[in-house]
Amino acid sequence: MSQSCTGRELLIYTIARLLNGVQHVAVGQSSPMPAAGAMLLRAMNQDAGKEDVQLSILGSVKHNSFTSGAGELFDCAAQGRLDAFFLGGGQIDGQGNVNLVGTGDYPNSPVRWPGSFGSAYLYFLVPRVILFREEHSVRSLVERVDFVSAPGASDETVYRKGGPHALLTNAALFSFDRDARRFRLESIHPGFDWRDIRTTTGFSYDNEKCETTTPLPDSKVLSTIRGRIREELHECYPQFAARMPGPD
């Protein structure tokens, strides 16, 4: 087995770390890496004899226990039974606002993305929302989104239990300070330095000169990813799983 960790494996491991302590995590459709990260957390917890993690992977028959249809995810979140969720977004800005709709003037966006899905709701209700966007560029991480699908923060007249917890890209990991409404650079993935992050990030953030490197998975975790997680992913993401390094 090759023990050099791929970029995707680092992201999967980082997602698992960001989920540490959650009891129930849901993963939206077309999200193989968040699904893998959640599966890895469950596997790591089981190996460590910790409490089981409930996964709700939309689109999965095996890793999804909802029985009341697609609306149950949203009800579950509002009931406080969902601890973590993932959001992407064509644009993410420095206040944690996300745009899943399109660029330029609405409605006739020159570049149109699919739409807001459940973001305008789940962002308010799920305590730990992980913003996951592989592309780290001034195009995706902007000063101000062109359209707010879901705002990063709200005032006290609005019921809000949830919001951004972290922003993970293929280059770095940020945390989010809800009071300051700002991101903080927490660690940089191997192969990048703080100057790379500064020039490819369109918004301002704290701890610009971060020297911390994002931790790599150890060989045991890597074996779990390449074995059990790759297996589990196969049901919903056969193509993605096939492209992952295998167990030897």
């Binding site: 077309s30 739409g115 699908s149």
Partner: protein, 268 residues
């Protein structure tokens, strides 16, 4: 009473100009019947995606059949963005009611419960709110300091869904995909295409009962095998990813779309 008709007859029963509720790809979408709607030249639809659209909605848009689109998203999933949708948005060819999944469910729930509106958490601060006359920010009547969004009821004239099975009495098996049940409850009429028809009542089996849409909601049933193709049908068959990819490529241009739709045995 539920009518049993041919797919062609069902396509004729869905008029231009109606408010049409559609289920998501892979979970109740009926692209087979949607193709027949396109072939017969349906126009001016107000399509309600419950809660998102996929290939069948993109095809309707490409065919010029949609005047208003109410949805939380349109996507071809693994095959990427929805090309006809994206083009129509850019060109301003459709009126767009952009929403968010739970607000669609809340609107359908209001129609299911026969109330004019439903409150819903979240949304405040989203630009979605600026564009929706049918959504408002209200105060919680029990705590005036708290703002909350209320959304209007969404009642489609007709919903069109595909399901694994109906029985001779008009009861339809949906299983755990209860968002499709909600869509049917909320709609004035529901038309269902099915893979097969059972001679035995599906309500006889207590195991199945919780996943059965009763006949009183079902206006018509048509047998249309593989009617979910090329998308999938939950717990029955997966999507034909290759075919959806093929569509995604073809539909990048208006000409390519027309060739794809015509080439599949359409009216052209």
């Amino acid at each position: 009473m539920t009518k049993f008709v041919t797919p062609q007859a069902m396509a004729e029963m869905i008029p231009s100009g109606c408010k049409l509720g559609l289920a998501p790809d892979d979970y109740g979408a009926s692209p087979g019947l949607v193709r027949m709607l396109i072939d017969r030249g349906i126009r001016d639809l107000h399509v309600v995606c419950a809660p998102i659209g996929g290939m069948q909605v993109d095809m309707l848009i490409g065919a010029g059949a949609v005047s208003t689109l109410e949805t939380s998203a349109v996507s071809l999933g693994e095959a990427g963005g929805a090309p006809c949708f994206n083009r129509a948005v850019r060109e301003g060819a459709i009126r767009l009611l952009d929403g968010t999944c739970p607000a669609v469910f809340a609107g359908l729930t209001a129609a299911e419960k026969g109330v004019p509106f439903m409150p819903i958490r979240g949304i405040i601060g989203s630009d979605l709110l600026k564009r929706r006359d049918d959504w408002k920010v209200a105060s919680n009547p029990f705590d005036e300091a708290e703002k909350i969004v209320v959304v209007s009821a969404i009642q489609p004239d007709i919903s069109l869904i595909h399901a694994p099975e109906a029985d001779r009495f008009g009861n339809v098996r949906l299983g755990r995909r209860r968002e499709v049940m909600l869509l049917a409850h909320a709609s004035k009429k529901t038309f269902v295409t099915v893979e097969r028809i059972s001679e035995v009542s599906l309500l006889e089996d207590e195991k199945l009962a919780a996943g059965i849409l009763p006949a009183m909601y079902v206006s018509a049933v048509a047998q249309l095998e593989n009617g979910g193709w090329p998308t999938g049908l939950y717990a029955e068959y997966p999507r034909d990813g290759g075919e959806v990819e093929k569509y995604a490529k073809a539909a990048r241009s208006a000409e390519g779309f027309r060739a794809y739709v015509g080439g599949l045995g359409g009216a052209a």
